[in-house]
């Protein structure tokens, strides 16, 4: 009998090995399918949005939540391989060049006695990412923050010697050689599948600088472009077509993304152009001021020999009226014959940037600095007196219009829109010509600006609180990147007949809280 007892433990252990099994197990690859695509070696190309940049920096947590990394997690369910990223050294995100910090640490949301502190501030700490410490690749995620379309084809873009003008500190970290191009390093990996989201910075540098750059449409030599310029659409088309033809050579498929409208990005929508909120008395004062100014200017023109009728017509544009409640700000515009004073009230569609000094706005930036001296002149005018030339100049100088760098005016918006429309038609055309999956990122961010609900909340593009955009107002949160990943999965499933599940966006975080700020 003892013989039998001896065997009991073996019997038992044999049974412990019997793990429960699902009828159709995810882990056993019994559910999802890859369709016609081969996800075994996925390589992503792009800019900061591909790299997982957020909160004004690239940092490890952001990279873990980059949309290509989220996608690769789903690709793994249908034979996707390991997805490597050029991870930063820490979660501070600042870059160092030869020991000197050259970019800021990431932004976090600090608090004071249970209230969030706006604007967000950089996380305190000494960042450890030294860009001259070369990482050994290759890396599946080839997203390079700051890259414009033509940079992906530019030799030397990863050469530290070319910093800051010719090279990119992020690509310096992981370029295969000094002369390597982003596309070349991607193709060397023989990608079986790719994603390409490029072109945002070809207009975004211009937009975030308030249109201080040059619209280079018509100039087909990108080597002459400055960072804040708009890329010529023909240059973009030529670059994009080279990128796509290079990538489709080895890949079984890929996905491309169009360029969203800046009006769906909180960087451009958070500070309204009519935030000049006035009580009745101040509105009256301002209206009176501008009437006085128009009067003074009419007199000035007449004195210079301009016929009175014409003088009145020109000066009339400055008799701006203000009402109780919100009013649009005054912005500076180039001095022209028709607008000799070089300012006007903002148009409804014109935008202010997130980076504008909001403290200054409260102090008269964007309207008029009504000093006691100015009010004295206005009083004089009201009593029918005529001001001295010095007093007249005092009134003209009191106008404090918003600088070009803080706003996008109608013509700047038009430049951006023209370029973006051209880029997007190139992207969609090449996607269709090459049977690539196409993600309408423009449409997606438009939806976010309307709000996308999920169990537990709603994602919007409201700055800080909306959950879609990180604290820099331009880049996405992990939750925002998860939305991009889901939109991508839908596009891939549709194009390649694959069956890939979407991720649960409620499990992806938004902005990081920390009072460890400088």
């Amino acid at each position: 009998m003892k013989n039998y007892i001896k065997f009991l433990p073996f019997l038992a252990f044999g049974l412990f090995a019997c793990e429960p099994e699902f009828e159709e197990g995810i882990e056993e690859n019994e559910i999802y399918t890859a369709g016609e695509a081969d996800f075994s070696n996925y390589v992503s190309l792009g800019n900061s949005l591909t790299a997982g940049y957020a909160d004004n920096a690239l940092y490890v947590e952001g990279q873990e939540n980059s949309f290509p990394n989220i996608l690769s997690g789903q690709f793994e369910l249908v034979g996707g391989g390991e997805f490597t990223q050029p991870l930063m050294a820490d979660n501070l995100g600042g870059l160092k060049l030869n020991g000197n910090q050259i970019t800021n640490n990431r932004l976090v949301l600090s608090s004071n006695a249970g209230q969030p502190v706006i604007p967000p501030a950089p996380l305190a700490g000494d960042p450890q990412t030294e860009i001259t410490n070369k990482l050994s690749g290759p890396f599946n995620n080839m997203g390079v923050p700051g890259a414009k379309s033509f940079h992906l084809l530019a030799p030397g873009y990863g050469n530290a010697a070319g910093l800051p003008a010719q090279a990119n500190p992020y690509f310096v970290r992981f370029s295969s050689t000094d002369n390597a191009t982003v596309l070349g390093d991607a193709l060397a990996q023989n990608p079986s599948f790719f994603s390409l989201w490029i072109g945002n910075n070809d207009i975004l540098g211009y937009a975030t600088s308030g249109g201080t750059g040059v619209d280079q449409t018509g100039n087909i030599d990108p080597s002459t472009y400055a960072p804040n310029d708009i890329t010529d659409p023909n240059v973009f088309a030529s670059v994009y077509s080279q990128l796509v033809s290079g990538l489709t050579e080895s890949a079984s498929g890929g996905v491309v993304y169009n360029i969203p409208n800046i009006t769906d990005i909180p960087f451009f929508t958070t500070v309204p152009n009519n935030a000049l909120v006035l009580d009745a008395q101040t509105a009256g004062n301002l209206t009176g001021f501008f009437q006085a100014l128009a009067g003074i200017f009419t007199q000035g023109l007449i004195q210079q020999g301009v016929p009175p009728q014409q003088a009145q017509a020109i000066a009339g544009q400055y008799a701006i009226t203000f009402n109780e409640g919100p009013n649009r700000f005054i912005i500076d515009v180039p001095v022209t014959q028709t607008n000799p004073l070089g300012f006007r009230q903002m148009q409804p569609e014109e935008l202010l940037l997130l980076t504008i000094d909001q403290g200054a706005l409260a102090q008269g930036y964007g309207s008029v600095a009504l000093s006691p001296e100015v009010l004295q002149v206005l009083g004089l005018l009201q009593q029918g007196g005529s001001p001295s030339p010095e007093q007249a100049q005092l009134v003209l100088n009191a106008v404090n219009g918003i600088d070009d760098k803080d706003a996008l005016d109608t013509s700047e918006l038009q430049n951006i829109s023209n370029a973006r429309t051209a880029y997007n038609s190139t992207i969609q055309g090449l996607a269709e010509a090459n049977n690539l999956a196409f993600v309408d990122a423009d449409g997606l961010l438009q939806q976010v600006s309307q709000g996308i609900s999920f169990p537990g909340g709603i994602v919007t593009s409201d700055f800080v609180s909306g959950g879609g955009f990180s604290l820099d107002g331009v880049h996405l949160t992990p939750r925002g990147y998860a939305l991009v990943a889901n939109e991508t999965l839908r596009a891939i499933n549709m194009t390649y007949g694959s069956d890939l599940p979407e991720v649960n966006i409620g499990e992806y975080g938004t902005v990081t809280l920390s009072d460890n700020v400088n």
Binding site: M1, K2, I5, L8, P9, L11, A12, L15, F16, C18, E19, P20, E21, F22, E23, E24, G25, I26, E27, I31, Y32, V60, E61, E64, G73, Q74, L77, N91, V108, L109, S110, S111, N112, A113, G114, Q115, P116, L123, P455, G456, G457, L500, P501, E502, V503, N504, G506, E507, Y508, G509, T510, T512, L513, S514, D515, N516
Partner: protein, 418 residues
């Protein structure tokens, strides 16, 4: 009572997964376990002290002891086919044990002692798994210590029972919510821990023996509430921000009920070789309505976790065959109704209805000494379930998925008679 000498060491041993609905563990006697854990009408060893104390007086021996230990090897798998996520619990065998003794004072009275671990749960998911806002890991253990008396009122009828002293431990960790992290990306999480939580209860039973071959039993064990008061709650990896609770410790109060149970059944000795047993058990799980964790820190809201358990029945069948003078073989089956209702399937006790298949044997090594072995295989059907009572921003955020689990419980014990 807080300093129950044995509690510390024994409780470590006792952590076990839940295997009879909720966090009830059915492993209080290898002989009964081998027979589908049916035993309310069975009188064959000191195990009777647990299953029906009134039967002790019918034991023939002056002094008899049964002791044993069971290894609980459980596997729970979860997957969500709408997101492609999957997870499984870590293999961390629990070891419920028992020690039962009976002493025959005279023909009419027997005294006994029963030490057992009928409630416990040990579930450990992978850290930060998709359900980590509900549970990362949990460990419950309770030891029941019960002095007993069994009195024969007539040849046909006996009564028994006694007070129960309980000492328990709880340790429960989960993440603060689905997304909160510190600046390094570490998920903010909370552990509540309390040891040496004590309380008392009682049990009462009778046994009716109309004819020698048939015993009909009835046993009731009272509800016992484990009130963890002033336990330690540890907040870890919270961001340094006045918008969230801070990392550190605070005290907490919580109550975990161990429900009352009523068992009735019979054992029929067909002949010298064969014995059949049947138990019907009703467990009054309704008492487990909500797990509320009240933190001493006024800045931390009370955690309300609806459970909404229902009362359940289980049906247990067992047979015993005396193969030789030295060898007794046993087999059994039980059906276990889960107290968890639809929409309340929390992954800390991932239990749906189960089928238990049991087998075992006793080998009489000497006249006084026998070895008892048992084996339980518990099979749960694949189930699509969700827990709907978790909320964020006032909205229900169901935690959904498919669960599939099983468990193997090999046990070994000894029976000693004087």
């Amino acid at each position: 009572m807080k300093n129950f000498l044995i509690s510390g060491l024994l409780l470590m041993l006792a952590s076990a997964s839940a295997y009879a609905g909720g966090y009830r563990v059915a492993a209080q006697g290898q002989r009964a376990l081998a027979m589908g854990h049916a035993g309310v009408g069975v009188v064959n060893s000191a195990e009777t002290a647990f299953f029906n104390p009134s039967g002790l007086v019918y034991l023939e021996d002056k002094f008899t002891v049964s002791a044993g230990i069971t290894g609980v090897f459980s596997n729970v798998k979860w997957q969500n086919t709408s997101t492609g996520q999957f997870a499984e619990t870590r293999q961390d065998p629990g070891t419920p044990f028992y020690f039962h003794a009976a002493y025959k004072v005279n023909e009419w009275i027997s005294l006994g002692l029963s030490v057992s671990t009928p409630f416990g749960s040990s579930v450990e998911w992978e850290r930060d798994w998709p359900g980590s806002h509900l549970v990362n890991d949990i460990n419950l253990a309770a030891i029941f210590i019960q002095p007993l008396a069994s009195i024969k009122l007539s040849k046909h009828f006996s009564i028994g029972g006694g007070p129960i002293f309980v000492t328990g431990n709880v340790n429960f960790n989960r993440n603060a919510n689905r997304t909160l992290t510190d600046e390094q990306g570490n998920r903010s999480n909370i552990t509540i821990d309390d040891t040496g939580v004590t309380n008392t209860g009682w049990s009462a039973s009778f046994m009716f023996t109309p004819v020698e071959e048939l015993r009909i039993g009835f046993n009731y064990r009272s509800e016992i509430l484990l009130n963890a008061e002033g336990g330690e709650a540890t907040f870890v990896d919270f961001p340094n921000s006045t918008l969230t609770p801070q990392s550190g410790t605070t005290e907490f109060d919580a109550t975990l009920p161990m429900p009352a149970e009523l068992t009735m059944g019979f054992a029929y000795e067909m002949n010298e070789k064969w014995l059949f047993a049947f138990d019907y058990q009703r467990v009054f799980w309704e008492v487990y309505n909500s797990l509320d964790i009240d933190f001493a820190n006024p800045n931390v809201a009370t955690s309300i976790n609806p459970r909404n358990y229902k009362n359940v029945s289980s049906y247990r069948f067992g047979a015993q065959y005396k193969a030789t003078d030295n060898l007794t073989l046993r087999a059994g089956y039980y059906f276990d109704d889960s107290p968890v209702q639809e929409g309340f399937f929390a992954p800390e006790t991932p239990r749906n209805d189960g089928n238990g298949y049991t087998a075992g044997l006793s080998f009489q090594i000497s006249e006084k000494f026998a070895v008892d072995a048992s084996f339980l295989y518990l099979r749960f059907k694949e189930i699509d379930a969700s827990y709907d009572s978790y909320t964020e921003n006032g909205q229900s955020v169901p935690f959904e998925g498919t669960y599939k689990s099983n468990a193997f419980l090999p046990g070994i014990g000894v029976t000693y008679k004087l």
